[in-house]
Amino acid sequence: MAGATTPYADDRVLVEALRRGDEDAFGWLIDRYDGSLRRLARNYVATPAVAEDVVQETWLAVVKGIDRFEERSAVSTWLYRILANIARTRGVREHRSIPFSSAAGALDEGAGPAVDPERFGTPGAPGYGAWAAPPTPWADEPESRLEFGEVLDVVRAAVEQLPPAQQEVITLRDLEGWTSTEVRNALDLSETNQRVLLHRARSKVRRAVEAYFEKAEV
Protein backbone atom coordinates (compact mmCIF):
# COMPACT_ATOMS: atom_id res chain seq x y z
CA MET A 1 0.00 0.00 0.00
CA ALA A 2 1.39 3.35 -1.00
CA GLY A 3 -0.11 4.82 2.16
CA ALA A 4 3.08 5.39 4.04
CA THR A 5 4.37 7.99 1.63
CA THR A 6 1.25 10.12 1.30
CA PRO A 7 0.56 12.93 3.73
CA TYR A 8 -2.80 11.30 4.49
CA ALA A 9 -1.03 8.55 6.37
CA ASP A 10 -0.82 11.13 9.14
CA ASP A 11 -4.19 11.07 10.90
CA ARG A 12 -4.18 14.77 11.64
CA VAL A 13 -3.52 15.74 8.05
CA LEU A 14 -6.13 13.26 6.88
CA VAL A 15 -8.89 14.43 9.20
CA GLU A 16 -8.24 18.06 8.41
CA ALA A 17 -8.38 17.32 4.67
CA LEU A 18 -11.62 15.38 5.07
CA ARG A 19 -13.19 18.23 6.98
CA ARG A 20 -12.16 20.60 4.20
CA GLY A 21 -14.00 18.33 1.77
CA ASP A 22 -10.83 17.07 0.06
CA GLU A 23 -12.04 14.30 -2.21
CA ASP A 24 -8.59 12.84 -2.73
CA ALA A 25 -8.35 12.34 0.99
CA PHE A 26 -11.64 10.48 1.09
CA GLY A 27 -10.60 8.39 -1.92
CA TRP A 28 -7.39 7.52 -0.17
CA LEU A 29 -9.29 6.56 2.98
CA ILE A 30 -11.56 4.28 0.99
CA ASP A 31 -8.69 2.59 -0.81
CA ARG A 32 -6.80 2.15 2.41
CA TYR A 33 -9.59 0.70 4.55
CA ASP A 34 -12.41 -0.65 2.45
CA GLY A 35 -10.91 -4.14 2.11
CA SER A 36 -10.16 -4.33 5.82
CA LEU A 37 -13.62 -3.20 6.80
CA ARG A 38 -15.19 -5.70 4.47
CA ARG A 39 -13.18 -8.57 5.89
CA LEU A 40 -13.96 -7.52 9.41
CA ALA A 41 -17.64 -7.14 8.62
CA ARG A 42 -17.74 -10.78 7.58
CA ASN A 43 -16.84 -11.78 11.09
CA TYR A 44 -20.12 -10.35 12.24
CA VAL A 45 -22.70 -11.06 9.60
CA ALA A 46 -23.76 -14.13 7.71
CA THR A 47 -23.30 -13.22 4.07
CA PRO A 48 -20.96 -11.16 1.92
CA ALA A 49 -23.95 -9.18 0.72
CA VAL A 50 -24.85 -8.06 4.22
CA ALA A 51 -21.18 -7.34 4.92
CA GLU A 52 -21.21 -5.13 1.86
CA ASP A 53 -24.19 -3.21 3.22
CA VAL A 54 -22.52 -2.81 6.57
CA VAL A 55 -19.39 -1.38 4.96
CA GLN A 56 -21.47 0.96 2.82
CA GLU A 57 -23.30 2.21 5.89
CA THR A 58 -19.99 2.64 7.65
CA TRP A 59 -18.68 4.91 4.90
CA LEU A 60 -21.85 6.99 5.01
CA ALA A 61 -21.49 7.34 8.77
CA VAL A 62 -17.90 8.45 8.22
CA VAL A 63 -18.95 11.13 5.76
CA LYS A 64 -21.48 12.46 8.24
CA GLY A 65 -19.41 11.95 11.33
CA ILE A 66 -16.02 13.32 10.41
CA ASP A 67 -16.74 16.67 12.06
CA ARG A 68 -17.49 14.95 15.34
CA PHE A 69 -14.47 12.69 15.25
CA GLU A 70 -12.40 13.11 18.37
CA GLU A 71 -8.76 12.92 17.59
CA ARG A 72 -7.88 11.12 20.76
CA SER A 73 -8.25 7.83 18.92
CA ALA A 74 -6.68 6.70 15.66
CA VAL A 75 -8.76 6.99 12.51
CA SER A 76 -8.47 3.22 12.06
CA THR A 77 -9.93 2.63 15.51
CA TRP A 78 -12.72 5.06 14.88
CA LEU A 79 -13.63 3.38 11.58
CA TYR A 80 -13.60 0.01 13.19
CA ARG A 81 -15.87 1.10 16.02
CA ILE A 82 -18.40 2.52 13.60
CA LEU A 83 -18.31 -0.69 11.62
CA ALA A 84 -18.63 -2.85 14.73
CA ASN A 85 -21.66 -0.91 15.94
CA ILE A 86 -23.44 -1.15 12.63
CA ALA A 87 -22.49 -4.77 12.15
CA ARG A 88 -23.64 -5.74 15.63
CA THR A 89 -27.02 -4.23 15.01
CA ARG A 90 -27.30 -6.15 11.77
CA GLY A 91 -25.89 -9.31 13.30
CA VAL A 92 -28.42 -9.22 16.11
CA ARG A 93 -31.15 -8.85 13.57
CA GLU A 94 -29.79 -11.94 11.85
CA HIS A 95 -29.46 -13.85 15.11
CA ARG A 96 -25.81 -14.44 14.53
CA SER A 97 -23.43 -14.90 17.40
CA ILE A 98 -21.40 -11.77 17.87
CA PRO A 99 -17.73 -11.84 18.77
CA PHE A 100 -17.62 -9.32 21.58
CA SER A 101 -21.12 -8.29 22.52
CA SER A 102 -21.19 -10.98 25.17
CA ALA A 103 -17.53 -11.21 25.95
CA ALA A 104 -17.97 -13.73 28.75
CA GLY A 105 -17.63 -16.83 26.61
CA ALA A 106 -15.66 -15.26 23.79
CA LEU A 107 -12.34 -15.46 25.55
CA ASP A 108 -12.60 -19.10 26.50
CA GLU A 109 -13.92 -20.35 23.23
CA GLY A 110 -11.25 -22.40 21.50
CA ALA A 111 -8.91 -22.51 24.50
CA GLY A 112 -6.35 -25.28 24.64
CA PRO A 113 -2.64 -25.99 24.55
CA ALA A 114 -0.57 -24.50 21.73
CA VAL A 115 0.91 -27.91 20.93
CA ASP A 116 -0.42 -31.41 21.50
CA PRO A 117 0.86 -32.33 25.02
CA GLU A 118 1.86 -35.79 23.83
CA ARG A 119 4.64 -34.29 21.79
CA PHE A 120 6.48 -33.57 25.02
CA GLY A 121 6.47 -37.17 26.21
CA THR A 122 3.98 -38.91 28.42
CA PRO A 123 2.26 -36.41 30.70
CA GLY A 124 3.20 -37.16 34.29
CA ALA A 125 6.13 -39.39 33.40
CA PRO A 126 9.65 -38.35 34.41
CA GLY A 127 11.33 -36.07 31.92
CA TYR A 128 8.00 -34.86 30.63
CA GLY A 129 8.04 -31.38 29.14
CA ALA A 130 10.94 -31.50 26.67
CA TRP A 131 10.23 -32.14 23.01
CA ALA A 132 9.77 -35.83 22.32
CA ALA A 133 8.54 -35.07 18.82
CA PRO A 134 10.14 -31.72 18.00
CA PRO A 135 8.93 -29.64 15.07
CA THR A 136 10.36 -30.80 11.79
CA PRO A 137 11.60 -28.34 9.18
CA TRP A 138 8.99 -26.99 6.86
CA ALA A 139 10.04 -28.10 3.42
CA ASP A 140 11.56 -25.09 1.75
CA GLU A 141 10.54 -22.55 4.34
CA PRO A 142 7.34 -21.19 2.82
CA GLU A 143 8.69 -17.69 2.68
CA SER A 144 11.15 -18.64 -0.01
CA ARG A 145 8.79 -19.69 -2.81
CA LEU A 146 7.23 -23.07 -3.67
CA GLU A 147 3.65 -23.99 -3.10
CA PHE A 148 3.10 -20.49 -1.97
CA GLY A 149 -0.47 -20.39 -3.14
CA GLU A 150 -1.26 -23.69 -1.51
CA VAL A 151 0.23 -22.72 1.84
CA LEU A 152 -1.78 -19.54 1.78
CA ASP A 153 -4.96 -21.53 1.16
CA VAL A 154 -4.15 -23.56 4.26
CA VAL A 155 -3.48 -20.41 6.27
CA ARG A 156 -6.66 -18.75 5.06
CA ALA A 157 -8.75 -21.80 5.91
CA ALA A 158 -7.16 -22.02 9.36
CA VAL A 159 -7.90 -18.36 10.08
CA GLU A 160 -11.47 -18.77 8.90
CA GLN A 161 -12.02 -21.69 11.24
CA LEU A 162 -10.93 -19.82 14.35
CA PRO A 163 -13.54 -18.79 16.89
CA PRO A 164 -14.69 -15.22 16.09
CA ALA A 165 -12.76 -13.41 18.81
CA GLN A 166 -9.47 -15.09 17.87
CA GLN A 167 -10.14 -14.54 14.22
CA GLU A 168 -10.76 -10.88 14.76
CA VAL A 169 -7.60 -10.33 16.77
CA ILE A 170 -5.29 -12.21 14.42
CA THR A 171 -6.84 -10.48 11.40
CA LEU A 172 -6.31 -7.05 12.86
CA ARG A 173 -2.84 -7.74 14.18
CA ASP A 174 -1.17 -9.92 11.58
CA LEU A 175 -3.17 -9.24 8.46
CA GLU A 176 -4.04 -5.58 8.88
CA GLY A 177 -0.92 -4.77 10.81
CA TRP A 178 -2.59 -2.96 13.69
CA THR A 179 -0.65 -2.46 16.90
CA SER A 180 -1.74 -4.27 20.04
CA THR A 181 -2.89 -0.93 21.49
CA GLU A 182 -5.10 -0.22 18.48
CA VAL A 183 -6.66 -3.66 18.73
CA ARG A 184 -7.24 -3.35 22.46
CA ASN A 185 -8.93 -0.01 22.01
CA ALA A 186 -11.09 -1.07 19.12
CA LEU A 187 -12.22 -4.30 20.75
CA ASP A 188 -12.25 -3.18 24.38
CA LEU A 189 -9.87 -5.88 25.44
CA SER A 190 -7.36 -5.90 28.26
CA GLU A 191 -3.74 -6.21 27.27
CA THR A 192 -3.61 -9.76 28.58
CA ASN A 193 -6.76 -10.88 26.85
CA GLN A 194 -5.64 -9.44 23.56
CA ARG A 195 -2.44 -11.44 23.87
CA VAL A 196 -4.20 -14.63 24.92
CA LEU A 197 -6.48 -14.48 21.89
CA LEU A 198 -3.57 -13.72 19.58
CA HIS A 199 -1.56 -16.56 21.05
CA ARG A 200 -4.30 -19.13 20.58
CA ALA A 201 -4.97 -17.94 17.07
CA ARG A 202 -1.34 -17.98 15.94
CA SER A 203 -0.69 -21.34 17.59
CA LYS A 204 -3.58 -22.88 15.70
CA VAL A 205 -2.55 -21.44 12.39
CA ARG A 206 0.99 -22.73 12.96
CA ARG A 207 -0.41 -26.19 13.64
CA ALA A 208 -2.37 -26.07 10.40
CA VAL A 209 0.74 -25.13 8.41
CA GLU A 210 2.70 -27.86 10.17
CA ALA A 211 0.05 -30.43 9.33
CA TYR A 212 0.17 -29.30 5.72
CA PHE A 213 3.94 -29.79 5.48
CA GLU A 214 3.84 -33.13 7.25
CA LYS A 215 1.30 -34.38 4.79
CA ALA A 216 3.25 -32.97 1.86
CA GLU A 217 6.37 -34.84 2.93
CA VAL A 218 4.94 -38.30 2.47
Partner: protein, 92 residues
Amino acid sequence: MLRMFRRRRRDDLACVEFVELVTDYLEGAMSSADRARLDRHLGGCDGCTRYLAQMRTTITLVGRLTVDDVDALGDDARAELLAVFRAYRAET
Protein backbone atom coordinates in the same frame (compact mmCIF):
# COMPACT_ATOMS: atom_id res chain seq x y z
CA MET B 1 22.76 -29.63 47.25
CA LEU B 2 19.11 -28.88 47.65
CA ARG B 3 19.72 -25.22 46.97
CA MET B 4 21.59 -26.01 43.79
CA PHE B 5 18.77 -28.21 42.66
CA ARG B 6 16.23 -25.51 43.33
CA ARG B 7 18.22 -22.91 41.49
CA ARG B 8 18.52 -25.12 38.46
CA ARG B 9 14.85 -25.88 38.49
CA ARG B 10 13.87 -22.27 38.67
CA ASP B 11 16.09 -21.41 35.75
CA ASP B 12 15.22 -24.33 33.55
CA LEU B 13 12.35 -23.96 31.26
CA ALA B 14 10.47 -26.88 29.80
CA CYS B 15 9.70 -26.83 26.09
CA VAL B 16 6.05 -27.38 26.93
CA GLU B 17 6.17 -24.03 28.78
CA PHE B 18 8.08 -22.30 26.02
CA VAL B 19 5.39 -22.90 23.41
CA GLU B 20 2.88 -21.11 25.66
CA LEU B 21 5.21 -18.17 26.29
CA VAL B 22 6.24 -17.63 22.70
CA THR B 23 3.65 -14.91 22.05
CA ASP B 24 4.61 -13.00 25.19
CA TYR B 25 8.18 -13.30 23.97
CA LEU B 26 7.41 -12.00 20.49
CA GLU B 27 5.24 -9.22 21.89
CA GLY B 28 7.93 -8.11 24.28
CA ALA B 29 5.47 -8.64 27.10
CA MET B 30 7.77 -10.06 29.72
CA SER B 31 10.33 -8.91 32.25
CA SER B 32 13.93 -8.80 31.13
CA ALA B 33 14.67 -11.61 33.58
CA ASP B 34 12.04 -13.85 32.00
CA ARG B 35 13.22 -12.89 28.56
CA ALA B 36 16.79 -13.82 29.45
CA ARG B 37 15.50 -17.14 30.75
CA LEU B 38 13.80 -17.86 27.44
CA ASP B 39 16.88 -16.77 25.52
CA ARG B 40 19.02 -19.16 27.55
CA HIS B 41 16.60 -21.95 26.81
CA LEU B 42 16.60 -21.14 23.11
CA GLY B 43 20.39 -21.19 23.15
CA GLY B 44 20.35 -24.88 23.99
CA CYS B 45 17.15 -26.10 22.38
CA ASP B 46 16.86 -26.69 18.64
CA GLY B 47 13.23 -27.74 18.89
CA CYS B 48 12.12 -24.47 20.48
CA THR B 49 14.36 -22.43 18.18
CA ARG B 50 12.62 -24.02 15.25
CA TYR B 51 9.26 -23.53 16.89
CA LEU B 52 9.95 -19.82 17.30
CA ALA B 53 11.02 -19.54 13.66
CA GLN B 54 7.83 -21.28 12.59
CA MET B 55 5.72 -18.86 14.61
CA ARG B 56 7.45 -15.99 12.85
CA THR B 57 6.85 -17.65 9.48
CA THR B 58 3.21 -18.14 10.44
CA ILE B 59 2.84 -14.44 11.20
CA THR B 60 4.40 -13.56 7.85
CA LEU B 61 2.07 -15.94 6.05
CA VAL B 62 -1.03 -14.48 7.69
CA GLY B 63 0.24 -11.06 6.61
CA ARG B 64 0.45 -12.27 3.03
CA LEU B 65 -3.26 -13.01 2.97
CA THR B 66 -3.95 -9.37 2.31
CA VAL B 67 -2.49 -9.55 -1.15
CA ASP B 68 -4.67 -12.43 -2.23
CA ASP B 69 -7.67 -11.85 -0.17
CA VAL B 70 -8.72 -8.29 -0.59
CA ASP B 71 -11.86 -8.03 -2.55
CA ALA B 72 -11.48 -4.69 -4.12
CA LEU B 73 -14.25 -2.19 -4.12
CA GLY B 74 -15.78 -1.82 -7.57
CA ASP B 75 -15.08 1.41 -9.46
CA ASP B 76 -18.77 2.29 -9.56
CA ALA B 77 -19.23 1.83 -5.84
CA ARG B 78 -16.12 3.91 -5.22
CA ALA B 79 -17.33 6.70 -7.48
CA GLU B 80 -20.69 6.62 -5.76
CA LEU B 81 -19.12 7.04 -2.34
CA LEU B 82 -17.05 9.94 -3.57
CA ALA B 83 -20.18 11.56 -4.96
CA VAL B 84 -21.90 11.18 -1.60
CA PHE B 85 -18.89 12.73 0.08
CA ARG B 86 -18.88 15.64 -2.37
CA ALA B 87 -22.60 16.27 -2.00
CA TYR B 88 -22.57 16.07 1.75
CA ARG B 89 -19.52 18.28 2.22
CA ALA B 90 -20.99 20.85 -0.18
CA GLU B 91 -24.10 21.02 2.00
CA THR B 92 -22.33 21.66 5.23
